[in-house]
Symmetry: C2
Subunit: 409 residues, 2 copies
């Protein structure tokens, strides 16, 4: 029951020159649904990524970091669902490397040019032989038009595949940005989200691509939270094949950098919002805007304190304008010297908190009306400075408990 | 459905010389159940407290801090349930002071010798006139034997009143420590819990009493969490009437300090555990022990990262040995340089994680057996140092959502 989120129309997903996508069922997950996805990249493609900050970073995350440090360009990304290959020690690292070896053999490239990704149950051995066996079938489906099928193949408890496209013109050249993501729980990405892959046919230097992936992550995936838990496998990867005509973007002052970053950010924000809309058990999509913070870090802390509070989230589920829980959560953000008497708070267009107390002309029926819609905007004015942020989240429903109590059974 | 928690046998609650307790229905909460509680103290009683660190500290918390700073000894504590008197601005401070004035008139003492406490809904005006009207009835019930009734009068969503006693002999003098607490949600006390009052007839200097209340809070209420939300009204107050014979404890090296602190800690830990056992919707009582940390702060961070994770809590609710969620939560504690390959983890007596991976001889049926009981001990060995801690929590069930979705309706 994702909130205002439907599967992307495959026709709306623009192929990216130099990116082919394939999919197959390898039998890693129990239900018979595609669980293997392969992205083949044109020669010379650059890739940059940001990864989980969880101390138990999964084996594929560790191998990705090594390969990204060792190679300049990349030929493939391989993703399995159903098994996270995390907490699996040396055997897990070996399984991730074997996966890369198998892809390299199939595609005729070096293993270090392959990046591996896994998502699913933690602490279980990855049956790499099933991936090897399914790879030929996966390769046989490689095609530029397969973004929707690829997005479906990486889902775990997601109910809706998540993909989005933008195009832009740069110096007379038409460029495309298309991306996909998965993730609905264990989700407070820190530097990156569960798994997200965004590709463009633009040409951009490796250093600038790395800069862009960080900046975009901070403006998109790092601002969404479902349950405050950060996964062990979070990865957000930005691919630039450079296949489109046009000059390489080499400096942040280049006109192309801002334009390309804007398109990538739009795709990433749409994917990040899709993650919150499809949050486990979600019945409401909540946008939390914080204004008037001293700095961005403070704004994020206040927004996340509200977004993480189970009491705030259950109040949204109940459509209950329980204002006390909102101020409780703001008060818990740990902001030194916070003057609560300067704080205003709006639910939609209704001012509910004024100077730290109940707004003078607030009426309960207005609050109730503001809590009813499936999409709710919370705006918090701290009155301390000029910094702002926006965080997206969802409510906490019976179904969150149900989904997570029954996940492995 | 509290976990292995029944109402205290009134006969097990030892009266504390110099402490009388009264109760009444003032009509602050809608259901007709006692919602006003008064503690009268013998002349010369000392009181020390620790209070919420939420920036939206409630009006009674602010008045308590002022009165504690202004007076050496205290004559009364007054508590209402059903309304937190928080986010109520100047009017709220006035209401808290009016409550103290009314008690002072009834008992013939100064208002600064009265400490006010409130718990319940946030951001609603406290109808102080109802407290004033009910005070005479409340005073008429004042008696040393009324700990159980007093504990019942301060409950909100608690399902079981929480009180405990210990006695000790010090230099041939028999001393008593009896306490009560309330609180089952919005509960990750930070310096103190929702509301807890512990009294003793021992004689102890004001400075040492303040030291003791902090030390005991750190070892008891600060180590329990239900949902990670810190209330605006948290208060833990330690009362020493000095009515028992025996010398005043004036130095931490006094034999009496350690013995008295041990008895107060035992009462506080029993109350803190009762809070987790009665956690909103709780079906499991979870004890999380962390050993081998570099320091106590690190041990608490790891234990609370596990105790707060909604994914870990729903796995406990489902009796599902979902080991991956446990390592995910440990990895999210934000411990710099954490070497995951040194971490072992036990569920009860079953070693499930060994050197950061699944234990070699772990069998799923052993994990399933370990997750079944209503009381589960989790032990985490970090292998980094000598510091340890213990944190108590409960699981996250459908009923947590139900209780909090319906709280105000």
């Amino acid at each position: 029951m994702a909130v205002n989120l439907t599967p992307p129309d495959p026709k709306s997903l623009l192929p990216v020159a130099g990116v082919d996508l394939g999919f197959a069922y390898a039998g890693i997950r129990k239900v018979k649904r595609n669980d293997l996805m392969l992205i083949r990249l044109a020669q010379g493609s650059r890739v940059a990524g940001v990864f989980t900050q969880n101390a138990f970073a999964a084996a594929p995350v560790q191998v990705c970091r090594q390969h990204l440090a060792a190679s300049e360009t990349f030929r493939a990304l391989v993703v399995n669902a159903g098994n996270a290959n995390c907490g699996t020690g040396e055997a897990g690292l070996l399984a991730a490397r074997q996966t890369c070896d198998a892809v390299a053999r199939e595609l005729g490239c070096r293993a270090a040019e392959v990046l591996p990704f896994s998502t699913g149950v933690i602490l279980e051995h990855l049956p790499v032989e099933r991936i090897e066996a399914a790879l030929p079938a996966c390769v046989s489906t490689l095609a530029p038009a397969h973004w929707a099928e690829a997005a479906a193949a990486i889902m775990t408890t997601d109910t809706v595949p998540k993909a989005a496209s933008r195009s832009l013109a740069l110096g007379g050249v038409r460029l495309t940005v298309t991306g996909m993501a998965k993730g609905v729980g264990m989700l407070q990405p820190n530097m990156a989200t569960m798994l997200a892959f965004v590709g463009t046919d633009a040409s951009i230097s490796g250093a600038l691509l790395q800069r862009m992936v960080r900046e975009v992550a901070d403006a998109s995936f790092n601002r969404v939270t479902v349950d405050g838990d950060t996964s062990t496998n979070d990865s957000f990867v930005l691919i630039a094949t450079g296949v489109a005509a046009g000059p390489e973007v080499v400096a942040p002052q280049d006109a192309g950098y801002a334009a390309l970053k804007e398109a990538v950010t739009q795709v990433a924000v749409e994917l990040a919002q899709a993650i919150a809309r499809d949050g486990e058990g979600a019945t409401k999509f909540i946008t939390i805007r914080v204004n008037g913070a001293k700095n961005a870090e403070e704004a994020v802390r206040v927004a996340k304190a509200v977004a993480h509070s189970p009491l705030v989230k259950t109040a949204f589920f109940a459509s209950d304008p329980n204002l006390g829980r909102l101020i409780m959560a703001i008060g818990n953000a740990g902001i030194a010297g916070l003057d609560t008497s300067r704080i205003d708070l709006y639910l939609g267009d209704v001012k509910v908190i004024e100077r730290g107390g109940r707004a003078a002309d607030y009426r309960e029926e207005d609050g109730t009306r503001a809590m009813k819609p499936a999409e709710i905007a919370v705006r918090i004015e701290l009155g301390r400075g000029d910094a702002s942020t926006t965080v997206w989240t969802c409510d906490l429903s019976y179904d969150y408990v149900k989904i997570n109590a029954e996940y492995r059974t």
